[in-house]
């Protein structure tokens, strides 16, 4: 008796997107990173193309972090003293990209100037050869001042700029078009708004194929099942032919996982002094591998051991081509 073929056939395909530009394409990166391209649900190689390997970006802040838990402080040591050192350390941990957060531009924080922000980006570009994600401080008015300086300082480097939102996307769209950068479209874990931000950006003239969807996420234990179902809905629509939801997806894993109580200060009876530092690593790795199953192509992470574990998991899910 022959088994019936029950594999799904999809009409759509997730866009392929390349970040970073080498000298051959007008930038200074030593390599570029390409994500996306799946024509089926994650890792179902028997159904269709699984696309490019998910990439891992590692967080670097524009100044020493405040309140980061001991396992991260221990892993990075004195690399926190400058963004350049930090980025080099992260590349040593296996970062495919650096995710630079201009947190100190926040008006209530360092309130750094556009020029200072641009200098930080140039410092990191000079220190490492991997492509960059650059995130503003999250305050629209301030981001609309600093991002133009950042964008033009890195013209041609093919950055991923974060993040365009429903209420604030025009500046980033203009910068992405003018300086040749890709765009992250943010939505609060809401597939309707994810689609809306994408259409707003395309209406403003930005090419759909240059966008990454960034649905805000939560860590394991903080509604991640909901995050999964939202992401799955979007992915099914994208594979079903909805071009506005066929973009690769970014998940901000490290920041979410290390914010959780379980990662920072696990209160379970079984926790010993010896195992305490492992909880955060496990929490970050578990959150990341879970989100890979939902169809995330770009993970932003923090701890080297978690990065290594996730890399190994990707290797098991996507064995090297024969």
């Amino acid at each position: 008796m022959t088994m019936p073929d029950v594999s799904e056939k999809w009409t759509g395909k997730i866009n392929t997107l390349t970040l970073g530009a080498t000298s051959a394409s007008g930038g200074t990166r030593t390599g570029a990173v390409t994500i996306g391209g799946a024509s089926t649900l994650p890792f179902l190689s028997f159904e269709g193309e699984v696309g490019n390997r998910p990439a891992i970006a590692v967080d670097v802040l524009d100044g020493p972090p405040e309140g980061w838990p001991a396992p991260l402080v221990k892993a990075y040591g004195d690399a926190f003293s400058s963004p350049a050192k930090w980025a080099k350390k992260a590349v040593g941990f296996g970062a495919d990209l650096i995710c630079l957060r201009l947190a100190n531009a926040h008006p209530d924080g360092g309130n750094r100037s556009p020029q200072q922000c641009a200098d930080t980006v140039k410092e990191v570009l000079g220190a490492v050869g991997v492509p960059l994600i650059v995130w503003g401080c999250g305050i629209d008015a301030k981001d609309n001042q600093i991002m133009p300086a950042v964008s033009s300082a890195a013209r041609g480097e093919n950055l991923l700029l974060g993040s365009a939102r429903e209420k604030n996307y025009r500046t980033l769209v203009a910068l992405g078009l003018a300086d040749g950068h890709k765009l992250m479209a943010e939505s609060p874990c809401d597939v309707n708004i994810a689609k809306q931000v994408n259409i707003l950006c395309t209406d403003a003239g930005y090419p759909l194929e240059n966008m990454v969807i960034f649905p805000t996420t939560g860590a394991l234990g903080y509604g991640i099942e909901y995050v999964y179902s939202i992401q799955e809905r979007g992915r099914l629509a994208g594979l079903g032919g909805d071009r506005l939801l066929a973009q690769p997806v970014l998940a901000d894993v490290g920041a979410e996982a290390w914010r959780s109580k379980e990662a920072r200060d696990p209160q379970f009876a079984c926790v010993t002094d010896q195992t305490r530092p492992l909880w955060g690593v496990a929490w970050e790795a578990a959150t990341a591998t879970f989100l890979l199953q939902a169809g995330v192509e770009l993970l932003v992470m923090r701890h080297p051991d978690a990065i290594a574990q996730v890399r190994a998991a990707i290797g098991r899910l996507m064995p090297a081509a024969k």
């Binding site: 309707n192 708004i193 689609k195 809306q196 259409i199 209406d203 979007g234 629509a237 506005l244």
Partner: protein, 264 residues
């Protein structure tokens, strides 16, 4: 929603005149406007314009092809015109249409299969338009079987359950709704279900309102295609909204625009 634009039809005065006077720009403008407005394919019907149906049809095909590579639905009741024109249509061709009698449908389905085209099959046979939904479903099943035997895949078969004007028959709209749901359930993949939508409101007032209300009702039952007027913006909006409400797409505030942009 697979919209087949109905405007290139010799029944319309502007098209009739354009065919008679070989005014290509009138036809090409209609082709362009219908495609830009949301059509996926274009119906091509010479109508009563000229005596030489075949020559006029070929001229229309050539004229449209100069500006659009959209699938063309060759709309004629004459087999000799169909058989002569179909092999000469570059790109995708839809045969519009065949009756359900097996000996007739087999000929049309064979021609469609031979040219990698699609076929619109009507639930009409020698006895005429059925007076109930059961007969429509029976003829629909017959069309599916005939198409399969002729080597035409079911997803290239459009079944038209035949809508009559609501002022002629108040029962037909309900019969068609039932037939759409039932014929759709027959095979996997199912055939497309199609209507010549504008017929429902022939010689009625409030035509636009009747068309878009009925289209929404039919989409709820599984209709996925119609020969209709894509230049009627409200009608297209209703079709998109009905598809949204039947789970065919993800909502966003600009969903009308999103659906239109997804077509390109």
């Amino acid at each position: 929603m697979y919209v087949i634009g109905e405007r290139i039809n010799g029944m319309f005065a502007d098209v009739k005149q354009a065919i008679r006077e070989k005014k290509a720009d009138v036809i090409q403008e209609l082709a362009r406007r219908q495609m830009a407005a949301g059509a996926w394919a274009l119906d091509v019907n010479v109508g009563p314009a000229v005596a030489d149906g075949k020559g006029a049809m070929l001229w229309l095909v050539e004229t449209i092809r100069a500006v659009s590579d959209a699938p063309l639905a060759i709309d004629t009741a004459k087999w000799e015109v169909m058989a002569a024109v179909v092999p000469q249509v570059p790109g995708h061709v839809i045969l519009n249409s065949s009756k359900a009698d097996p000996e007739i449908a087999a000929k049309y389905a064979g021609l469609a299969a031979e040219h990698n085209g699609s076929l619109i099959g009507l639930t009409i046979d020698a006895a005429g338009v059925p007076g109930n939904s059961e007969k429509r479903v029976e003829l629909g099943a017959q069309l599916i079987a005939t198409a399969m035997e002729a080597g035409l895949p079911t997803d290239r078969l459009f079944i038209d359950p035949i809508i009559l004007p609501v002022n002629v028959s108040s029962k037909t709209p309900v019969d068609c709704l039932e037939a759409i749901a039932q014929i759709r359930a027959f095979s996997d993949p199912p055939p497309h279900l199609l209507l010549g939508l504008s017929n429902v409101s022939q010689r009625c007032s409030n035509r636009g309102l009747i068309n878009r209300t009925y289209l929404s009702m039919c989409i709820a039952k599984g209709l996925d295609s119609a020969i209709m007027d894509p230049l009627d913006t409200e009608l297209i909006n209703s079709a998109i909204t009905a598809e949204l409400l039947t789970g065919k797409m993800i909502y966003c505030d600009s969903y009308l625009e999103a659906a239109r942009s997804s077509k390109q």
